[in-house]
Symmetry: C2
Subunit: 198 residues, 2 copies
DNA sequence: GTCTATATTTCGATAGAC
DNA sequence: GTCTATCGAAATATAGAC
């Protein structure tokens, strides 16, 4: 007889927590880190500051949670893309990977840009590096199907190239995701085709 | 008899101004936008806050000057690279351009990263876009020598790809500029070699 | 558990002495 | 022209009522 109540409480609790995170994301998108105050977050989330501090010990914790959430989604998306294309052609597999990375970043490009900045200046540098390495491993597995001489560095570069293109497009306000995808595809395939003979 | 004194005064004045800008740059590199207070800047520059406010009306003006300075240097460097390679081979010309962009960004990568972020959230967006377009024009002129079917979009992409690679290297603390250059070169040439037939 | 009110700190900017 | 001292605004976080 106690479980239901507890679950309900936990569910409500989770909803509030998510609302706070989403409010933070929206504020970051609209005004960057400047107007990002705990009061503003609470207001936007529809709760009071007092309540906010019951869910998070401080502002950094909110940002850290937001970042971890985004990271997990990205990693899952890329893993899924790799698994989904195990029977597809190497070129299709690489394309799926680019698409997964683009999805994540292009869906909310401003937020992605802000998050990337904050990651650097929060005490999450180690976690960030660890995730980057895990991502690179998945990318590498796929890229190798197309270009067997590729190494971890090339996998990292594929990610960096894609990120660079998406960021630029986002800042320029480029609306056409399909055109962007076509160019990202060309950049990645072009890069891989230029591998030095070993 | 008055000119020398006036010049001396102006020279001293310029020295102080430069010290303030450089102090800002160093603080940005070491702690990002967080600890970047006017008091901290003044202290690091070896002057008092009162003096600082004689040279700049507010904090934003300091950042705007820093950004404009960096931009001018980058543009000059790229223009110089283009002019220097007018008689060289197309491939060498493109390489020189990449090197110029890398120089600028890789020399002080953390600062470049911070500046790029601040640019977005300052009232300099128009200026930033204008400069990006001018840079793209210069890049385009060179890129066309190698790939005549390239357009402005491809020129922008070349810049974005290079930036993405440099940023990633900077964040990963990669020390070897030469290896990075080799990969940036491969990425750019690879991208251009994949141009769609028109 | 959520709110309002407020204590505390930090920071941008200014005043006024020298 | 430069400094120290300080004001006022904003922001983080907490206290205490309900």
């Amino acid at each position: 007889m106690h479980q239901p109540r507890k679950q309900a409480r936990q569910a409500r609790s989770r909803v509030t927590q998510t609302a706070i995170i989403e409010a933070t994301a929206r504020l970051l998108e609209s005004q960057g880190r400047n107007g990002l105050t705990t009061n503003a977050i609470a207001e936007r989330a529809g709760v009071s500051v007092g309540s906010l501090y019951q869910y998070f010990p401080n502002k950094e914790a909110i940002l850290a949670t937001l970042i971890r959430d985004k990271r997990q989604k990205l990693l899952k998306g890329m893993q899924q893309a790799v698994l989904d294309t195990q029977d597809a052609s190497p070129a299709d597999a690489v394309e799926a990977l680019i698409r997964a990375g683009m999805m994540h970043q292009y869906e909310r490009p401003t937020l992605a840009f802000e998050v990337e900045y904050i990651e650097q200046r929060l005490e999450l540098a180690d976690e960030t590096a660890a995730l980057a390495e895990e991502m690179a491993q998945w990318v590498l597995a796929t890229v190798r199907r197309l270009q067997p001489s590729a190494g971890l560095q090339e996998a990292r570069d594929v990610v960096a190239i894609t990120k660079g293109l998406i960021n630029a497009a986002a800042m320029a306000g480029e609306p056409d995701g399909n055109a962007l995808f076509a160019r990202a595809r060309r950049a990645v395939l072009g890069y891989l085709s230029q591998m030095p003979e070993t």
